[in-house]
């Protein structure tokens, strides 16, 4: 290990140190405020290191590659984790029982997301994924007196376990043929089946690699909740504590997508038409199913779950179109990274507000009626939520619009007309249920009993995110350039 290695790993080390300190602190002194403070300091330290290494491009051990793009993703995730901490504190401070370990799990899950983002090796991939996953099981089940939350955690545990099994089996098949777990080597056997190790004939080698790819694709699709692997999403989102719904919808999915993006581009999956066709089918079903299921949904958490299914369907279009545009598939990175960042910020506003509403109502779920009249009660936060919903719907002047425009343009250049028409239909349906939420905020406030007055850090975080979403929507150039320069 050289100094550069340590520098490259410094964000992960910062989180690990923070987690240890948290463990010790909880063992000796239980104090929610102190725990929150240490967590925030940990995240800030991690952010500091991340900003320090933005220009670094370094392979440290075969497992992790630190490059500007993954550092960018990590910054987004840690920032969101920090905001999640503020929201969680609001949520936890009035709950009965001991709540300190919550933050420990948040730190561990965030660490998992960074490992996942930096992974260039299937071992680090699965390590990051499970580090994040296991922390999340605990977080989902955290309010353990609550039946809903336990049910959600068990559902997630069983199904996620099954999908991880599929993923691992896929890895094993690839390893059996190519003898490597390193991303660039994975599909080398497919390009030239005769170099495959082992006794198989080229035909069987090819078939096994494709079967392995299918299993990996299925496993990843589950984590990204792409249809038809989406069914767990609404139930788990609904049952989770509201801040964790936000974590699941943003950081957890974002990290899996970031890792998938790297696997896809470095592993050159885009060169294989059957895999691309498979992705196309997943994308089409996800867009349609996600949007249609959200259509008349009253529960906002479930609605956001369905909408996230559709959004990851849109995101796949960038991956599908990439292969036809550039031989190395690198054109997938800029639009999908932009879209992902915009989506994460946008969704965090919405889930943050839901968390704030459920904290003040002392109830897990926010329905359409709970935000009725929000414009009259708390115009500032209602404005934030409106911006977030408009961004999700892809209305101009928001990050969501630029992201969609980007993806749309890629689709046009690649001539993916079927996908584009599905994208248009999906967006059209989407506008209905997003606007429905905004309309409900303007209705007569007397019908809802909720009051909404979150603490200052939460309000400030939500407003900051809103400004970020508007900024990315009005002036996208700096981030576009950053992404372009670093790919």
């Amino acid at each position: 290990m050289t100094g550069t290695d340590f520098l490259a790993l410094s964000p992960i080390i910062a989180l690990a140190v923070g987690a240890s300190v948290l463990l010790l602190q909880i063992a000796f002194l239980r104090n929610l405020k102190l725990t929150t403070g240490i967590t925030v300091v940990t995240f800030l330290a991690c952010l500091f290191f991340l900003f320090y290494i933005t220009k670094l491009n370094h392979q440290t051990t075969p497992l992790l590659l630190v490059d500007p793009l993954s550092t960018f993703f990590s910054i987004v995730f840690v920032l969101c984790a920090c905001i999640t901490t503020f929201i969680s504190y609001e949520y936890l401070k009035n709950r009965p029982g001991r709540n300190d370990e919550f933050f420990l799990l948040v730190v561990l899950a965030t660490m998992g997301s960074i490992v996942l983002t930096y992974a260039t090796h299937l071992a680090s991939f699965i390590l990051g994924l499970e580090l994040m996953g296991i922390a999340l099981y605990g977080l989902i089940a955290y309010p353990h007196q609550d039946d809903m939350s336990l049910e959600a955690a068990i559902k997630y545990l069983v199904l996620s376990g099954a999908s991880s099994a599929a993923l691992l089996f896929g890895f094993a098949l690839l390893y059996a043929i190519t003898g490597s777990l390193f991303f660039p080597d994975l599909l080398s056997g497919l390009a030239s089946p005769e170099v495959a190790v082992g006794p198989q004939s080229p035909f069987w080698a090819r078939q096994l690699i494709l079967l392995g790819s299918a299993l990996i694709l299925a496993g990843i699709s589950f984590k990204l909740s792409l249809a038809p692997f989406h069914m767990w999403t609404p139930d788990v989102y609904e049952g989770s504590p509201a801040p964790i719904t936000g974590f699941l919808a943003t950081i957890s999915k974002g990290a899996v997508f970031a890792a998938t993006l790297r696997l896809y581009v470095i592993g050159e999956f885009h060169n294989f038409p059957t895999i691309v066709t498979g992705l196309t089918i997943l994308s089409i079903i996800s867009i349609l199913v996600g949007n249609l299921l959200a259509l008349r949904q009253e529960n906002i958490k479930r609605l956001l779950a369905y909408s996230s299914i559709a959004h990851f369907g849109y995101l796949l279009i960038a991956l599908i179109a990439a292969g036809t545009l550039t031989p190395n598939g690198i054109s997938a990175i800029e639009p999908s990274a932009y879209y992902l960042a915009g989506y994460i910020f946008t969704t965090l506003i919405a889930t943050g507000l839901i968390a704030a509403i459920s904290s003040s109502n002392n109830e897990e779920n926010a329905n359409l009626s709970d935000i009725a009249g929000l414009f009259w009660k708390n115009p500032l936060l209602a404005l934030c939520l409106s911006v977030s919903l408009l961004s999700l719907a892809g209305i101009p002047l928001t990050a969501g619009f630029i992201g969609k425009l980007y993806i749309f343009q890629m689709g046009v250049e690649a001539g993916a007309w079927l996908l584009l028409s599905i994208l248009i239909i999906g967006s059209g349906i989407g506008i209905y249920y997003y606007l429905r939420l905004i309309f409900s905020m303007t209705t007569d406030p007397s019908s809802s009993r909720s009051t909404l007055a979150p603490a200052l850090p939460v309000t400030v975080s939500l407003i900051t995110l809103t400004i970020l979403v508007l900024y990315l929507g009005i002036y996208p150039q700096p981030l576009m350039e950053y992404l372009l320069w670093n790919t």
Partner: protein
């Protein structure tokens, strides 16, 4: 000159502050912010102007690239040259005087803060419009002034009539703006850029003069100018727009926004020169509009409507000048018009302010002694409007008419139209002065304009007289005009024709020596006068031609037919939603089976079994 971006920024920040505080600031502070921000912008312009005149090289300031998709990279960049400087000076100079005047005029209004927020936002948008170095940014300013105009016309929104006027102004200009947007799309598609300098350059390389595509592009862009500047056939909105507060009419609907169309053509004159057909159309539209509006102004009796029609008519002169290639004459008239028309509007505002909101000129009279400052303002303003010798309007109108005469073939005809318009202008502007300020007093003013209203009037009086002597730095912007001045009699007629009009007006309205009442009341003439009064019945025509068929179609379609198709989409979406919702039954077994089936199908598909 690096502080050029601050010029639109200062009013914008002030508008943002006023909007954010939503009327919670004391009136004193609002007034200081509102008028002070324009004063600060004006001083900056003065500073920039002095620097620019010392070293008159055009410069552009690139702030940032807005978005960059392949070759299309519209910038947020400002371009400073003589034309932009003239426009900026008019906007901030006249704008400041009007803001100062407003602090007193609007004193008792409950929405004092809202008024200044809109006005400052307007000034900011107008400055962006004239400073933009590309047509996209200009379009941002263009739409910005449009929305401010809408907000200010409907400022007293409690009265539904004002709301209707605001909507009319918005919708009619929107028709022009749509045409302009189409023109811009065509430019992007054909030339790949919207930068004004690049457009002119590439257009010259790629197109031939008089070819079809430049003609279509220019005609579409001109559509935007016609809407904004209230020229035929989109002139109907301006008289209704007088529903707004009078100082805002002075700023937006007289001095600045309505002349944006003139600026648009002048700024893109190299593009427009690619299409002689459109240029001729501009001059013919100009003459037709100026005559039509002058006839209408002659028959109005609402003080502000007379001024509104006279504005349409004077912008007609500017379009005439543009059409014959006399760009600097057009901008010259734009500037002098801004002085004397702002003066007249502010004077009218003072009259209305002091006479319990009376608008009808036949219910006024004899105000010469009662409101001396206003009287002198009106006298000077009307003289300049009528282009009496040695007033500012005389210099600019003279230039326009002489340039028109020297145009081959069409020239003399257009000139004759312009001269006829000049006579009419003199008649109606002095009709206004004689009726309102002489004769017997019918309404007694209950107050006098204070200092903040009188000072702007006096300053504008000075500019209306000496404004014709200002030497504009436009030599580098426009091609130099070679056409020499016309020969003896034509020049003499052009210079003195206005006096004839004043004399006619004197005889008809002050001395009343010729009794025209019996002639005017003959049925045929009465009908004609009513026809003119209604603005050549354009509103009724559009109502029959466009509004009613549109409403009829809408009401036919409202019931069924096309809706059925859309309802089908809705119903099928809801049905699929229901069907899919059944699958989300919350049972782990179902989900697990679904997962396994999904994996199996994916594996089968990828390995080629299915």
């Amino acid at each position: 000159m690096e502080n050029l971006p601050l010029v639109p920024l200062i009013p914008f920040v002030s508008a943002a502050l006023l909007i954010a505080t939503a009327g919670r600031l004391p009136k004193m502070v609002v007034g200081l912010l509102g008028a002070g921000s324009i004063a600060a912008a004006g001083l900056l312009v003065l500073n920039i102007g002095i620097e620019f005149l010392r070293d008159p090289t055009p410069m552009s300031i690139h702030l940032w690239t807005w978005i960059s998709i392949n070759e299309f990279k519209p910038a947020f960049a400002f371009y400073l040259d003589g034309l932009a400087l003239v426009m900026m000076s008019v906007i901030t100079g006249v704008g400041f005087l009007i803001h100062l005047y407003s602090t007193e005029f609007m004193q008792d209004d409950a929405s004092f803060s809202r008024y200044f927020a809109y006005m400052n936002l307007f000034v900011s948008a107008m400055l962006i419009l004239v400073l933009a170095d590309n047509l996209l940014l200009m379009f941002l300013g263009w739409e910005g002034v449009g929305i401010c105009s809408y907000l200010l016309v409907g400022f007293w929104y409690q009265d539904p009539a004002n709301g209707a006027a605001a909507r009319k102004a918005f919708i009619v200009t929107r028709i022009g703006d749509t045409s302009m947007a189409l023109g811009l799309f065509l430019l992007v598609a054909e030339l790949g850029t919207l930068n004004i300098l690049e457009v002119a350059e590439i257009a010259k390389e790629r197109w031939e003069v008089g070819a079809t595509i430049p003609t279509i592009a220019c005609a579409l862009i001109l559509g935007g100018g016609l809407g904004k500047s209230a020229q035929l056939p989109l002139q109907t909105w301006l008289p209704d727009a007088m529903a707004g507060p009078t100082p805002c009419s002075a700023l937006i609907h007289a001095a600045t926004m309505v002349t944006a169309g003139v600026y648009l053509v002048a700024r893109n004159h190299e593009l427009f020169m690619m299409s002689p057909l459109v240029m001729s159309a501009i001059s013919i539209i100009g003459v037709a509009t100026l005559l039509l509006a002058a006839f209408t102004a002659l028959n109005q009796h609402d003080l502000k409507k007379i001024l509104a029609y006279s504005t349409i008519s004077q912008i007609g002169y500017m379009f005439l000048a543009l059409g014959v290639g006399a760009y600097s004459a057009a901008i010259f008239h734009l500037m002098t018009h801004a002085f004397f028309k702002a003066l007249l509007f502010l004077g009218a505002g003072a009259v209305i302010h002091c006479l319990h909101h009376e608008h009808d000129i036949f219910k006024m009279g004899g105000l010469r002694k009662k409101l001396p400052v206003v009287f002198w303002s009106f006298l000077i303003g009307s003289s300049a409007l009528a282009a009496l010798p040695f007033t500012s309007g005389w210099y600019s109108k003279d230039e326009i008419l002489l340039a028109t005469w020297s145009v081959p073939t069409l020239g003399p005809w257009l000139w004759a139209g312009g001269i006829a318009g000049a006579v009419l202008t003199a008649i109606y502007s002095f009709r206004l002065v004689f009726v309102v300020f002489w004769g017997e007093a019918k309404t007694i003013p209950d107050k006098q304009p204070g200092l903040r209203m009188s000072a702007p009037l006096i300053i504008l009086c000075v500019f209306s007289i000496v404004g014709g002597l200002i030497n504009m730095p436009l030599e580098q912007v426009f091609p130099s005009q070679t056409n020499a001045h016309a020969a003896g009699p034509v020049a003499w007629i052009t210079m003195t024709i206005a006096i004839v009009g004043v004399l006619v007006s004197y005889l008809l309205y002050l001395r009343q020596q010729i009794n025209v009442e019996p002639i005017l009341n003959k049925p045929a003439l009465k009908k004609l006068r009513y026809f003119w009064y209604s603005g050549w019945a354009m509103d009724a025509l559009y109502d029959r031609l466009l509004v009613r068929p549109y409403k009829l179609t809408a009401s036919l379609l409202k019931t069924e037919l096309i809706d059925r198709f859309y309802n089908l989409i809705v119903e099928s979406s809801v049905a699929s939603h229901r069907a899919l919702s059944i699958t989300q039954n919350g049972k782990l077994r179902t989900y697990a089976i679904n997962l396994v089936v999904g994996i199996a199908l994916l594996a089968a598909f990828l390995t080629g079994i299915v």
